[in-house]
Amino acid sequence: MINSHDPRMNRLGLPDAPEAPAAKGALDQFGTYEVFHQKKEGAPFVYVGPVHAPEADVAFLFAKEQYSRRFACTGMWVVPTAAITVTAYVGDQESAYDTLPLLPKSSAPAAGLADDTAAAEAAYAAGEEDYDIFHLKKRGKAHQHVGKVRASSPADALQVAKGVFGELRPVANVWAVRAADFLRSEDEDRDIWTTTPEKKYRDAISYKVQDRIEKFKAENPQSH
């Protein structure tokens, strides 16, 4: 049996040598969700990373722990990785919109900013939906929310976004996501984000180690 310095380990009664090699089935670690985080009120949502989770609610819970535990935030969105449509990645001086297939002039979509005019209502009735658009300004940085467009498909959403946000160069990469696919924190639940600041023992500045060192040196002038 494993003999540990940790009594909790000893209580497990673990064998010294493994019996058979361990194995895992596919999806033992679930699928993945991508997480976006709002640093402060009014700031755009920014990509923070993935989590593995069996469904959106659990993804939100894991994401809150993983990404907001140590970094203050005021809102969080999660979305299944599979729901994100991704353009090609281009260089840091270019625009990923230039890699989209060119549409013949007549069929280029009319700019579809999501608003609630009568035209919008008609468009929704005809099957169009809102899409959230994210830009990666520079490789190695994080995708950032730039706004919503109204479109009939992900490919269409990218074309519409090109018309609306295409002037914002450079854009190394674009993500388009159907707005309905997100699980988003609610404004009325904002209390859930107020847990971070009270845990001072996690802040480097709350350790006043230099004072103690100086005191020690003053009392022990010969020992160093």
Binding site: I2, S4, H5, D6, M9, L12, L14, P15, D16, P18, A22, A23, K24, A26, L27, D28, Q29, F30, G31, T32, E34, Y47, G49, P50, V51, H52, P54, E55, V58, E65, Q66, R69, R70, F71, P80, T81, A82, I84, V86, Y89, G91, D92, R139, G140, K141, A142, N173, W175, K199, Y201, R202, A204, I205, Y207, V209, I213, K215, F216, S223, H224
Partner: protein, 330 residues
């Protein structure tokens, strides 16, 4: 914690496989890195780049999750409520680092299931220092301060590397490590400037850990063909010797100033060259331990395996049957 250099062993002289790569794509790839642009998951990349990065990020992830065990041991016995809370928060951070790193490695194509299995079955390595025990609270403090300090030297260097997902993960990790370093330093100083018994306990822990700390950055670099390529590709950002020297330069004076000693009579800085001199670590012993014959190898793997197996039924119960696997995006 625990960056790459300490664990990842380069294939020594074998072929790089570069002759099989498309020369035009390879030139574009190298030009991008040369311009200082990052590589993102959807980009073309040479097989050697993918393989080395996968191995390096995966080993880093394993080191975080295994590294949480020797400190985790002390959560329930940390002296006082505040230190229990802080020790728990630090250990939770380390497990979170593993999550971030597994995801970064996963963007290169290896599933998290396979990485966890390779760890448990002994196929993948983790930082060798965690094959040693923490018999006292002071040993845990030495890890919190000095192993994390060494890891931060590695991580700050790697955060300037060429692979986007690894850089994003390391930026978050480095921000959290600032707390670990101060917390660890505070704990060591508290003991070293405390009662004679506390002081003795800390000195003994430091004596136990020093040989392992000296091996943390890995053997001296032989600058193989691979090392040159990996440095050009910004996979490896600094040589093992550079990292070790930087660590000694930053931390040996801080150890000496609180009246602690180090168990190496040859340890001194050569003021002319700026390079630290020391007794060469026992690399044969290092090899023996990393290959499985250390005091805690079996325990570390057994504990990790038990955690995986005990949680399996929960994961099975939660799994949504229609889930389809998609690699994380970035």
């Amino acid at each position: 914690m625990y960056g790459s250099a300490s664990t990842h062993d380069l294939p020594t002289s074998a072929a790089t496989g570069l002759e099989n790569e498309d020369p035009i794509l390879l030139a574009e790839f190298e030009a991008r890195i040369g311009r200082g642009e990052k590589i993102e998951p959807g980009d073309w990349m040479p097989a050697l780049y993918r393989k080395q990065l996968t191995r390096m990020i995966e080993q880093h992830a394993h080191s975080e999750i295994i590294g949480s065990l020797p400190e985790g041991t002390w959560i329930t016995r940390a002296p006082g409520f505040r230190r229990k809370m802080a020790q728990m928060a630090k250990v939770q951070d380390e497990v979170g680092h593993a999550q971030l790193l597994y995801s970064a490695a996963e963007t290169l194509g290896k599933t998290r299931e396979q990485m966890l299995i390779d760890l448990i079955n002994g196929k993948s390595k983790y930082s060798n220092v965690f094959n040693y025990p923490t018999p006292t609270w002071a040993d845990s403090n030495v890890i919190s301060w000095l192993i994390d300090a060494g890891a931060i030297v590695n991580q700050l260097a790697n955060a300037k590397g060429s692979y986007g997902p690894y850089c994003r993960a390391l930026d978050r990790i480095c921000a959290e490590e600032a707390f670990h370093l101060k917390y660890g330093h505070d704990a060591v100083v508290h003991m070293a400037t405390g009662t004679p018994i506390q002081r003795k306990m800390m000195q003994e822990a430091l004596n136990r850990w020093w040989p392992a700390i000296m091996t943390f950055f890995g053997p001296s670099d032989k600058m193989s063909v691979h090392t040159e390529i990996l440095m050009r590709w910004k996979v490896k950002m600094a040589s093992n010797d550079e990292c070790r020297n930087q660590f000694l330069d930053m931390y040996v004076p801080k150890i000496w100033e609180i009246g602690l000693t180090l168990p190496d009579a040859n340890l001194r800085k050569n003021e002319e060259t700026g390079v630290w001199e020391f007794t060469e670590p026992d690399w044969e012993d290092f090899k023996r331990v990393i290959n499985g014959d250390g005091p805690c190898n079996a325990e570390r793997i057994a504990v990790r395996r038990a955690a995986e197996e005990n949680g399996a039924w929960v994961r099975r119960a939660l799994l949504t049957p229609k889930t389809q696997y998609v690699r994380p995006l970035a």
